[in-house]
Amino acid sequence: AQRVTQPEKLLSVFKGAPVELKCNYSYSGSPELFWYVQYSRQRLQLLLRHISRESIKGFTADLNKGETSFHLKKPFAQEEDSAMYYCVRAGGNQFYFGTGTSLTVIP
């Protein structure tokens, strides 16, 4: 099965603390991976993609083929980071979504 696994449905951290949202995928080849974010009452939007290797809003994600992971990290969480985060793998004719992690940053 072409799975994307996000083990944490809910994650709470204090403002200024580091945050890591976990993502594991099952695919033997070279995956095309993204993180999408959905802020309250807004549409899903791209946060970053692994191929660009850039940092967006302080977030980074590194592809680890050995561990088949693509964890999303930020060293200092901000209140405006509170949102739903989806790890996504592109493949064939579709995007495969994880179940999402709801991040709450506590002031």
Partner: protein, 113 residues
């Protein structure tokens, strides 16, 4: 508008009623996707269009679900004889091509009563 537009935003249907959900993709985007998102779940793939061709409908849950994109732009997802289990948010996304960034609409929340 610059983004993907979906209408209606909310739809309440009586069980057994037919519904039609509309998606206006970003102009020029070749690829169009429909997803179904149940409460507390990630979006699940329904179908994929490349221009007007429906290349993949493997995610459609039953033959009550039908999608079309006759002129390669606007798409309609039709659900016949709606059931309670069809209650979900239906998301449309478009992209320039396969595996490129997908832009999502706000979704249509369907509630079947």
């Amino acid at each position: 508008g610059a983004g993907v537009s979906q209408s209606p935003r909310y739809k309440v249907a009586k069980r057994g009623q037919d519904v039609a959900l509309r998606c206006d993709p970003i102009s020029g985007h070749v690829s169009l996707f429909w997803y179904q998102q149940a409460l507390g779940q990630g979006p699940e793939f329904l179908t994929y269009f490349q221009n007007e061709a429906q290349l993949d409908k493997s995610g459609l849950p039953s033959d009550r679900f039908f999608a079309e994109r006759p002129e390669g732009s606007v798409s309609t997802l039709k659900i016949q004889r709606t059931q309670q289990e069809d209650s979900a948010v239906y998301l449309c996304a478009s992209s320039r091509g396969r595996n490129t960034e997908a832009f999502f609409g706000q979704g249509t929340r369907l509630t079947v009563v």
